[in-house]
């Protein structure tokens, strides 16, 4: 398996390491993400309460750092906590942060392999 950051962050993780979206303690939405791409898609679709719940708990940054091993993205997500965003405002910001990072990593990945 490759060790470059782009490959790790863009790859798929096993089911047991996927991110599972909850709206509150113990209430699972049925949505999960096993890659950064899937995570980006779920941010678009999941109930905004789930985004609020996980951002407040620091779950997103923890998963991104521990599982995807992307410290930069984890830092960017953690910064969003300061803005006290709710609902679609949070969704839009989170989507922008993740999507920007995904595009950058994808570009890095393709240049490394070309």
């Amino acid at each position: 398996m490759s060790t470059d950051p782009a490959s790790k962050a863009l790859g798929n993780v096993p089911r047991e390491k996927a991110f599972y979206f909850f709206t509150s303690v113990g209430n699972y939405t049925g949505m999960s993400a096993a890659s950064l791409k899937e995570f980006m898609d779920r941010v678009n679709d999941v109930n905004a309460k789930s985004l609020e719940f996980h951002l407040l708990r620091g779950d997103f940054e923890k998963w991104v750092e521990d599982v995807l091993q992307d410290k930069d993205l984890a830092y960017e997500i953690k910064r969003l906590q300061r803005f006290n965003l709710l609902g679609d405002a949070l969704r839009n910001q989170l989507r922008a942060v993740v999507s920007r990072r995904y595009t950058r990593l994808a570009a890095q990945g393709s240049s490394l392999h070309s």
Binding site: F22, V25, Y28, G30
Partner: protein, 166 residues
Amino acid sequence: MKFKNNAVSLDDVDLKILQALQEDSRQTFTALGESLGLAHSTVYDRIRRMEEQKVIKNYTALVDAERIGLKTITAMVTVYTEPKETERVAEKLAESPEVLEVYTSLSEELLIIAKIVAASQESLHDFIANSIAPLPGVLRIRTSIVTKKLKETLFSINNGSKGLRL
């Protein structure tokens, strides 16, 4: 009291012994015999037979966790699954020590109901997120944290004489 056809047959003496044991399972055969007007050998034989027939499943201690400083939270968790995975998910849940009871139910849709105990909301969430949600076939999960317990008991043989239809 009515019993299903394939059930073990019990007479009034057996039922009286069971009632007495459910009130205090530590009573001696002699004490039980005296209170019920039976010879202690009769009590012994009846209890032994009911143990062998698994009518009496075990003798257990009900521990009051709060009295020994154990603070726990209890949650009733409903797990919605793909129908073909329900049994497998329920069996997997039943293996976990955190899960006290597991039931499957067919109401509007097939689901699993489980009673879960945890040290804190955080550990409850971790257990559900890491051990239940990833199980194949789990569609969604609804969790209700118990805030007040009004009654908790095991099935009592006394219910038969108090209107519960068996």
